[in-house]
C-alpha cells in the first residue's frame, strides 16, 4: 500500500472513531417562568423578583420557601434524551457550605409566575423526585440530574417541563436557605435546563464535525499533491 493510501486510511479511521465517540448534542433551555412562593406571605407574588428562594428560616419559625420553574420544550416533544441537568446560579446562601437537602419534583399543572402564590401553588406529583444536597457557594452554578423528572413530565406535558424545588425537611429548626438568579435579574438569565439529546435526535454531523471533515479532506488533498514530490526528492 502506498504511503498516500496509508495516510488516507489513517485520516478516515481517526475521523470515523471520533464520530462514534462524539457526545450527543446538548441543548440548553432557559426557564420561561421562575419564581418562588413563601408560606409567610401566602398571598404575595414574587414573580418580578431577581431571585428565587428555597429553604426554611428558623427564626421566626414558620417561613418556608419553594421555587417553581417552567421550561418550554416545544419542538423537542418527540426527541429522545440521554440526560437532563438543572442548573441554578447561586446568589445567596444562609451559610457556607449550606448542606441543604433538597427535592426536585414535577408539578401536576402549569403556573403563571406573575400570579402564583403560596396559596395557589400547583400540587406536585409523588414520583419521580430528584434528591440532592445544595452545597454550592454564591457565584457558582449548582447542578442536579433531573433526567427522570423530565422524561416523566414529558408524558404529561410533551412541550414543557414544570418543576418545584423544596427542602426535603421543611420543619427543621435551623435556618437553611439559598437564593438563585431568575431571568428578571440583571444578567437576564435564570435557571437553565441542559438536555443531552439522544442519538436519534442529534444531527448526523454537527457544524464542527463537518468542519473537521473538510479539514481531513484538505489534508488528504495536500498529501496527494506533496507526497509524490517528496518521494521523488528522496
Amino acid at each position: 500500500m502506498s504511503r498516500e493510501r496509508r495516510a488516507l486510511w489513517l485520516v478516515a479511521g481517526v475521523f470515523a472513531a471520533w464520530l462514534v465517540a462524539a457526545p450527543a448534542a446538548a441543548q440548553t433551555f432557559s426557564a420561561t417562568e421562575d419564581t418562588f412562593v413563601s408560606s409567610d406571605f401566602p398571598g404575595d407574588n414574587f414573580g418580578a423578583f431577581s431571585f428565587a428562594e428555597v429553604g426554611v428560616r428558623d427564626f421566626p419559625k414558620d417561613d418556608v420557601t419553594r421555587a417553581l420553574l417552567a421550561f418550554d420544550l416545544s419542538g423537542f416533544a418527540d426527541v429522545p434524551i440521554e440526560s437532563a441537568t438543572l442548573q441554578l446560579f447561586i446568589t445567596n446562601t444562609s451559610s457556607d457550605p449550606l448542606g441543604l437537602a433538597i427535592a426536585v419534583a414535577t408539578l401536576a399543572s402549569s403556573f403563571d409566575e406573575n400570579t402564583v402564590t403560596w396559596t395557589t401553588q400547583p400540587a406536585v406529583l409523588p414520583a419521580p423526585t430528584a434528591m440532592g444536597t445544595m452545597n454550592t457557594l454564591p457565584g457558582d452554578v449548582f447542578e442536579i440530574d433531573v433526567t427522570a423528572l423530565v422524561e416523566a413530565q414529558r408524558l404529561l406535558h410533551p412541550d414543557s417541563v414544570l418543576l418545584r424545588i423544596a427542602a426535603t425537611d421543611e420543619t427543621t429548626d435551623e435556618t437553611r436557605f439559598f437564593q438563585f438568579r431568575t431571568k428578571e435579574s440583571e444578567a437576564g438569565v435564570g435557571a437553565q435546563l441542559v438536555i443531552r439529546l439522544g442519538a436519534a435526535a442529534a444531527p448526523l454531523l454537527s457544524s464542527w464535525q463537518l468542519a473537521l471533515a473538510a479539514a481531513a479532506l484538505l489534508i488528504i488533498a495536500m498529501i496527494r499533491l506533496v507526497g509524490p514530490r517528496s518521494a521523488r526528492s528522496s
Binding site: D62, P138, G139
Partner: protein, 235 residues
C-alpha cells in the same frame, strides 16, 4: 405557638408607625427620657421577659396587617436571645425598653488570591455582599410606656444604635421586608431616608392583603441620617 415573619413585620410596622411625628432630617436633638438612665448593650438571658413585653406592647390588632396578631410567649423571647445574641438592646435603668435584631454573621472567607481573575473577583464580591448584609425580622420598643413623642424618639434611638452595633460587627447593609413603602402614619416613605432603597419590585398581594416591599439600608448612610434625627441620650 409558631410565630411567622409576618408577625415580626407587624412589629416593624408598629415601630415605623411611631415615626409619625418625626421631624425633618437634620434636627439632631438628643434629650433625656425623664430622669432615667439609658444604656445600649447586647441582649442578655435576663431580657426574655422584657422582650416579650416589648413585642406584646408594640404589636396589637390595631396594627395588624395580616389578620389578628398572636401572643408573644416567653419561649419566643428565650429562643430569640439564644439565637440572636448580638442583637442590640436599649435599656432604661437596666431593663430593656427597645431592641433590634442582629443575626450572627457568616465567618470571613479566606483571603483573595493575588492573581484572581475578573470572574473570581466578582464571585468573591458577591459572597462578601451576602456576608455583610443581614435581614431584620424583629425590632421594637416598649410603646405602652412612652408618650407618642417619646415613642418616635425611642424608635430613632433603637434604630440608630442597632445599625451602629451591626456595623461594629462588620455588617454593611440591612434588609427589611415591609408590608408598605410608606406607612399611612409616616411622613415619608422608607426610601426617602438616605441610605434606604427598594431593591426588588414590589411583590403584589393577590388576596387583598398587603404588598411586600424589600428594602435595603446602607448602614453608613442610614446611621448618618439617623444621627440627624431626634434621639434620647444614651450612656
Amino acid at each position: 405557638m409558631r410565630i411567622g415573619r409576618r408577625e415580626a413585620i407587624k412589629l416593624l410596622g408598629a415601630a415605623a408607625a411611631a415615626l409619625t411625628g418625626a421631624g425633618p432630617l437634620g434636627r439632631g436633638v438628643a434629650r433625656a427620657l425623664g430622669g432615667a438612665t439609658l444604656g445600649v448593650r447586647s441582649v442578655q438571658p435576663g431580657d426574655a421577659e422584657a422582650l416579650r413585653a416589648i413585642m406584646s406592647s408594640c404589636v396589637s390588632d390595631d396594627y395588624s396587617f395580616f389578620g389578628p396578631c398572636g401572643e408573644w410567649p416567653l419561649s419566643w423571647a428565650q429562643e430569640f436571645i439564644e439565637r440572636r445574641p448580638d442583637s442590640a438592646v436599649v435599656a432604661r435603668d437596666g431593663v430593656a425598653i427597645g431592641f433590634f435584631e442582629i443575626p450572627p454573621m457568616k465567618p470571613a472567607p479566606a483571603s483573595q488570591p493575588a492573581a484572581a481573575s475578573a470572574a473570581e473577583v466578582a464571585k468573591l464580591a458577591l459572597r462578601e455582599d451576602n456576608r455583610t448584609t443581614f435581614r431584620v425580622t424583629a425590632a421594637g420598643i416598649r410603646a405602652d410606656l412612652l408618650s407618642h413623642e417619646d415613642a418616635v424618639t425611642m424608635f430613632h434611638t433603637v434604630l440608630y444604635h442597632g445599625f451602629r452595633a451591626a456595623q461594629g460587627l462588620g455588617y454593611a447593609q440591612a434588609e427589611g421586608w415591609s408590608p408598605w413603602g410608606r406607612h399611612p402614619w409616616m411622613a415619608r416613605k422608607w426610601t426617602d431616608y438616605p441610605g434606604c432603597e427598594l431593591c426588588e419590585p414590589v411583590a403584589p398581594n393577590l388576596e387583598g392583603g398587603r404588598n411586600v416591599y424589600v428594602m435595603r439600608w446602607r448602614l453608613d448612610d442610614a446611621i448618618a441620617a439617623l444621627a440627624g434625627e431626634a434621639q434620647f441620650d444614651v450612656a
